[in-house]
Symmetry: C2
Subunit: 124 residues, 2 copies
DNA sequence: ATAGCATCTGGAGTTCACTCCAGGTCAAGA
DNA sequence: TCTTGACCTGGAGTGAACTCCAGATGCTAT
């Protein structure tokens, strides 16, 4: 798979794909004899994982660290497990922040909808 | 309330508080005769709102826009309502991204815990 | 009155995660 | 073979959200 195909498939620019690779968020991608990237299914899997994690807000460095550990083989399994748990905990916190803000917005929206209908806005 | 008190209360640095004000995320804070910031309860309320929204990832500019509208009075109620709904929709999407990543992490963590116990890691 | 600490402002600096660019290479069609 | 369009690299540039700094001013306790 060429980089442009992968770009279309995942909605990431070619620059971003090259950046992810350079940053170590995905292992080095397979190349053609001429040196062009030729993504295998597995390469695509890494891209998809990176996209998913970045989409949730994990830091580039955390993802890269995971990949570094994965490349070192089975002896890093416990470390990887720890890393994943730490990231999970962070996402859990983020989830709570987002939920809190959403609850807040919902309340405000309800007040405003009331105000749009009746012309009276409670509090301010 | 002095800026250092507010800083402690909300866990935001003084620089951040000044930045939030300069960026328009909170309306101008009340000052002492000498020109020092003297946060009222209402000022604190705005700080708390800004912190909550930023914590969830809303952009500074979106929050500032809301404050700008609020300052213009009741004629902007419908606009503010629209803005809040747009931000809510964005948070909803973010929530889904985070949930997807968490599910993914949970699955991986389960595999790794299994591997830590048994020494056998499924897939890679 | 003065030492000393808190706070002020405007503006420069930093970090993160891309994004863009120049100048060159690769590969498929006419 | 030549052209054309996709792809390459290293490195510079960008935008967002802070963060830091210097030099000045405000308060408070001796």
């Amino acid at each position: 798979m060429t980089i442009s195909e992968v770009s279309r498939k995942y909605g990431l620019t070619q620059d971003t794909l090259r950046y992810y690779e350079k940053a170590g968020m995905i292992p080095p991608v397979h190349r053609t004899a001429g040196g062009l990237r030729d993504y295998t299914e597995e390469d695509c899997g890494w891209v998809e994982l990176a996209k998913c994690m970045r989409g949730a807000g994990l830091q580039v460095e955390a993802i890269a660290e995971y990949v570094r550990l994965a490349k070192k083989g089975d002896k890093t399994i416990a470390d990887r497990c720890r890393l994943l748990k730490a990231q999970r905990a962070q996402l859990q916190e983020q989830l709570q922040s987002v939920e809190a803000a959403m609850a807040r917005l919902d309340y405000k929206i309800a007040c405003y909808e009331e105000a749009v209908k009746t012309g009276v806005l409670t509090w301010h």
